[in-house]
Amino acid sequence: MFVTDIRKEFYEVVANQRVALLVASDIDALCGCKIIQALFHFDQVQYTLVPVMGWQDLGTAFLEHRDQFRYFVLINCGANVDLLEMLQPEDDCIFFICDTHRPVDVVNVYNDTQIKLLIKQDDDLGVPSYDDIFQDEEDEEEAGDDSGNESGDGSEPSGKRRRFDEGAVERRIERQREKREWEARRREILFEYEQYEYHGTSTAMMFFELAWLLSKDTKDMLWWAIIGLTDQWVHDKVTHMKYITDIATMQRHVSRHNHRNEDEENSLSVDCMRISFEYDLRLTLYQHWSLYESICNSCYTSCHFKLWTLNGQKKLQEFLADMGLPLRQVRQKFTSMDMSIKENLREVIEESSNKYGMKDIRIQTFGVHFGFKNRFLASDMVHATIALLESTENDENETDNFIKALDSLSRSNLDSLHSGMDLAKKKLIAIQQTVASCICTNLILSQGPFLYCYLMEGTPDVKLFSKPMALTLLSKYLLKAFIQSTRNKRCRLLPLIMAAPKDVEKGTVLVVGIPPESETSDKKNFFGRAFEKAAESTSSRTLHDHFDTCLIELKTEDRSKFLDALITLLS
């Protein structure tokens, strides 16, 4: 059931108990986790933090902790599946789920006792009404009564009995027909409801609102909420409209926090954190890199200029010349560029990019500033943290990466943040090179109802793409680049399925499906159900372990029959 008063029904219940926090591994979940950890520290609540990578991890974690805990808080996992059936908990176990995955499973919505959803109900959920899906027990009792009546009427004269019999039989047939119709309608409603997968309001924002209701919100929590929201935008999980609306909400909180005494007489220490609204450029990590590298490796600019072609490189040089930026300045680190160039950089770039057809080079976002040299944009932090979370260097295990990424979000761990940024730069360069090679060697094939691309094992940096978020980012960039480079109009409206080797010893590939790219796309993904059905029909060996159902693991040998099944399913 949905929680209406998050303070009374959630926080005050868990504040005196020991709680288990099961956190999924994406940045939004990490930010939500940081916020709720801070709240627990303020009120000295005992908790255990368990990172979970997929459904199997969730099950194992639950089994380990079911004896010691009665209250479980699930962050960014668990809403889109029937949790009680999957975990089989005791009757007094209570689950608080704060998840962005939609659609929320109907059992979770209508369970009154054990599942509490920390989700806002006006979030365009479209949950079918109770009567449409769940049948009351009364209808079955009526059928029982009637048959009881029939036998009871046995003493009546035969003529009347026949009439009663016919009446009873007709009623029964009528009821059975109604039941069949109702069931068919129910199947249809459920199919429509669960067909498309999408994302709702950021978890970090939900927890920040809880902190605000408790009047315990700090600037650190506000910053984490902003990072959670930006993660949804960077990984293309929400529509542009929703992002802008949420930015407006956050802007109100930012102005409220900045309203405190910042006049001449009472200036704040420079070490205090200052969050500001920025209408900044869409160039990834440009303030921590050189401007030239950033333009080459950001999806937006690279796709518009088509930087994988020679023509594109020339256009880039023209663009830089048009703005009057000397190459020497542009290629060195941003912090060492001349002040005269840096002053009006945003406006200059916006003007020039309008001429080259890039209308949205600026995006509304937030930046933070603390100490003398630490300035970060929200998207910088997202890239750095996701690079740490999914780092494939040094064979670290996933829990260590999780803890490192979680630590890098605190203000006191700036070295891990900087190392995350270096990893992010490497990842972005790898993505651009892979995109360029895929397009130049025509690795993207049109299979009819969708586009398909497979990364061979020998491709450079293919190890980076064995991680879900990195592969998703690569496929989104690839689709955008493909749309720019192809002449076939029909292909531009197709979704993309991307496969990359995940584990060489076990012989599995990671497959992701993303919806087609369009201006007004609502980011709803139907590949989850499609993958399930295709796997069933061909009995391929698949593992649907990830919380996003559009990502699965598949045995390499079963790849071709799986694809054939998908083609027949979707055409």
Binding site: F42, L268, D271
Partner: protein, 186 residues
């Protein structure tokens, strides 16, 4: 004595806070802490103030002496006088560090205050070094120093005592047969 021990003793000083919760009187071994009423200021020890601040339960009001003009006056006096001038608080250095690290958003002009307190500290330590130097070179028997804080004494104690002991040993070895030197023990 370790500097952290001195800081621990400094945490007993009282500082004014404005809590945002209500609680009845607390009866602790060290004394009573008055009833907490949201929005009304009261005095509590620094250790409790910092704990409450970290839990977002109060706002710390900077002590009266932690003000830019007053500290500038003290700094000027310190620079002009040859001896040590009276300090605003016997634990001024520790309190500055603790309050500015944890509650700098409640203290206006925190950066300038940090610089001023550091200037005052530097001047006093320089005077202390000079006086220790003259003490040793003129082979005095005892010295009287007013207005020194525990932290400053602690800074020089280890070095001064150790070196005086060394010098005593060296001098007593130069005169074999004499059981005591002319210098007092500390």
């Amino acid at each position: 004595m370790d500097p952290s021990e001195v800081e621990f003793l400094a945490e007993k000083e009282l500082v004014k806070i404005v809590p945002n919760f209500n609680l009845d009187k607390l009866y602790l071994i060290g004394g009573d802490l008055g009833p907490f009423n949201a929005g009304l200021p009261l005095d509590v020890p620094v250790w409790l103030a910092l704990n409450l601040k970290q839990r977002q339960k109060c706002r710390i009001v900077p002590p009266d002496w932690m003000d830019v003009e007053k500290l500038e006056e003290i700094r000027e006096l310190e620079r002009k006088a040859a001896a040590f001038t009276p300090v605003p608080s016997p634990y001024y250095m520790e309190l500055t560090k603790l309050l500015l690290n944890h509650a700098s958003d409640n203290i206006p002009k925190a950066d300038e205050i940090r610089t001023l307190v550091k200037d005052i500290w530097d001047t006093r330590i320089a005077k202390l070094r000079l006086s220790a130097d003259s003490f040793v070179s003129q082979q005095e028997a005892h010295a009287k120093l007013d207005n020194l804080t525990l932290m400053e004494i602690n800074t020089i104690r280890g070095f001064l005592l150790g070196s005086l002991n060394c010098m005593y040993k060296l001098r007593s070895n130069l005169q074999p047969g004499s059981s005591k030197g002319q210098y007092g023990d500390f």
